[in-house]
Symmetry: C2
Subunit: 394 residues, 2 copies
């Protein structure tokens, strides 16, 4: 018997010849019945054709399938790009026997080259035919670019004695930054939920997850997070209690995916949570946390396992918000490194260096100026990051 990831959803992934290395590069998710849907898209002024298409198609709040390719972003490809995006949707619609407006599209990869649309069309019958309820691993592989591992997570919730599921699949690796979705994220759930409430839940979860991670400060032209709810579990989200239960599970799925994304970021060897407390406001705290998380000097020091707190404080100082260095405290996990703006000496430094050797840890900055707090996830900046991104197209 097929393993079922989430009731009423099927998926597939296969190599269509878009990637030069022959890896899987075309995937589809199909719901047995029409699903309520919502999306979050890039705020970049340069938007790929599939993003432009999806933003229009998702307006009625329903969809039934999503087709995704990796290896090519279908961005800066002009009118041909839009024709190709529509052709991808049409291919799925035709094979599966649904309206093409019910199919969303996502692409990721190199910007500025036209899709090899004939290869994609040729693969479509096989792709749709091979969709199965246990096909999500193949799908998760087919959407990867420089990621090293597929990222899937399934969580179960319970409401009024009935079980429901939320499944998330994502790819990221580089070009991930706050105020954006991540590159691509697809959430399937079998609850029954109104698409407006679903959209709010997605935005809520997004704030706590994909919008607080940073890899290299760049944001993509293709970022898309889609959620589909097909109601197949029979569990209905129709009151505040239900919404809370559903939100908790959705948050958990999306936060877990976020951590997986940063952990698998290009060249990353460290997953680091930057938490700022005691800022004048949450906005100030967020500005400081993001500036630290995005600082090349901080990130190279993390890679070098160097407890260089001076760079952390210097980054905080250029965030453009209130800060009194003489009040600042910095912790690496529970090791107090800086008190009243000054280093705590060689013993603290030795302890902090041990923290830095771990693959996951926290940096905590207390400003003692107010009640604002924020936290973001980041990774180190490694030699491999440069290698990966210097060689990406070749």
């Amino acid at each position: 018997m097929e393993k079922e990831y989430c009731m009423g959803f099927k998926a597939a992934g296969l190599p269509a010849g878009i990637k030069k290395n022959g890896d899987k590069d075309l995937g589809v998710i199909i719901s047995e019945s029409s699903a309520n849907a919502a999306g979050v898209f890039t705020t970049n002024k340069v938007q790929a054709a599939p993003v432009v298409l999806d933003k229009e198609r998702i307006k009625p709040g329903i969809c039934q399938a999503v087709i995704v390719n990796s290896g090519n972003a279908n961005c800066c490809t002009g009118e041909q790009g839009m024709r190709d995006a529509k052709a991808m949707a049409k291919g799925v619609a035709k094979e599966f026997g649904i309206s093409e407006e019910m199919v969303l599209v996502a692409s990721t990869g190199v910007i500025g080259e036209s899709l090899p649309i004939e290869k994609i069309k040729d693969s479509m019958p096989d792709l749709v035919k091979s969709a199965r309820s246990d096909g999500f691993q193949d799908f998760a592989e087919a959407i990867l670019t420089t990621d090293t591992v597929p990222k899937i997570i399934v969580r179960e919730g319970e409401l009024g004695g009935e079980m429901f599921k939320v499944m998330g699949i994502a790819k990221g690796a580089g070009m991930i930054h706050p105020n954006m979705a991540t590159l691509l994220g697809f959430i399937c759930t079998d609850v029954q939920i109104n698409s407006k409430v679903l959209s709010e839940a997605l935005n809520q979860a997004n704030k706590k997850s994909f919008n607080r991670i940073t890899v290299d400060g760049d944001t993509s032209t293709n970022d898309t997070v889609l959620i589909m709810a097909n109601g197949m579990s029979g569990v209905e989200i129709n009151n505040a209690e239900g919404q809370n239960v559903f939100q908790d599970i959705l948050d958990e799925v999306m936060v877990s995916l976020s951590r997986m994304l940063v952990k698998d970021a290009e060249g990353a060897t460290k997953l680091v949570e930057i938490t700022v407390k005691g800022a004048k406001s949450d906005t100030d705290a967020r500005a400081i946390a993001e500036t630290i998380a995005g600082s090349s000097l901080v990130k190279t020091a993390l890679f070098g396992e160097d407890a260089n707190w001076g760079r952390i404080l210097a980054a905080a100082g250029r965030a453009g918000v209130a800060l009194k260095p003489e009040k600042a405290e910095i912790y690496f996990n529970n090791v107090l490194m800086v008190k009243e703006g000054k280093g705590c000496g060689p013993e603290a430094e030795a302890q902090a260096t041990r923290v830095l050797r771990e693959s996951e840890f926290s940096i905590f900055l207390h400003l003692h100026l107010g009640n604002g707090d924020a936290s973001v996830l980041t990774c180190d900046l490694s030699i491999d990051y440069v290698k990966i991104n210097a060689d990406y197209r070749s």
Copy 2:
């Protein structure tokens, strides 16, 4: 006979034992007579002790000497840091027989460690004694951190048949970003000029030079640019014509220093000018130019000699200002790569790749939205950048 860099100025540099490797790390510039002076300092909220001291001492618009150490930033060092900064100035004042208020101080290096002030004090008599009119090469070496070459430039100007000089010395390498000075810059001139006019001239030149370069987006706690004008040439700047002549020479010195700084940036292999034209406003153009210049994805592509124009357009798209990708043109030097938001094909790409193999070139983005333009200097992000900054303190 000693070579004279700039009339009435002497300098020296020697190893005082602050740097572990025994390189020169302490330098002084002394003017024979009191000089009119002005400064530009970091806007970072975390400011090193010497910056705090100089901002106060330069208020009357005069000074006679500046003492500089490398290897230690004297930042986040509390009250001891201020005592040490004052002690450095006092040491020069005592040896040279001037008031300590006439001595400015600058430091650069690791943040958060106290200065080895006894070593500095012990070196002071030798340092001041060895100051000579041809000692600027030693000084320029003594202020370096990860820079690989000292940076000195001398330019002569002529006003009413009389000659004057402007000399600039700088160090930079990393942590350089617009809206800041650079790390350390010292300008000496033998013109006679009122300190208010001098300050305006410095700000003007700064906008065209140190404020339009970026290496890694980080800004320092110690950034300081000082200018001293001792009047020894007898050339008086007292009208608009004189100001223009002086401004031109000062601009030339500071722009040349800026290029030298970016060229010698940590790990840099390329010096790249990013010019944006046709934005809705100069401010918009500047925002886009800086976002491109600071993008890790663009900078790694430059290192990889990959004409990845999609990353340039994607960076422009996240600058938060108006942009219509379908109107955008991108040139690498004079090679048109992108027209109406689409790539110009493999032949253009091949030509652009040849441009990218050069060590200096321009990237030009025309938005066709208005008359705003701006340009900034940047460098690539290399494997060596990461190595240098991962290992900096060890």
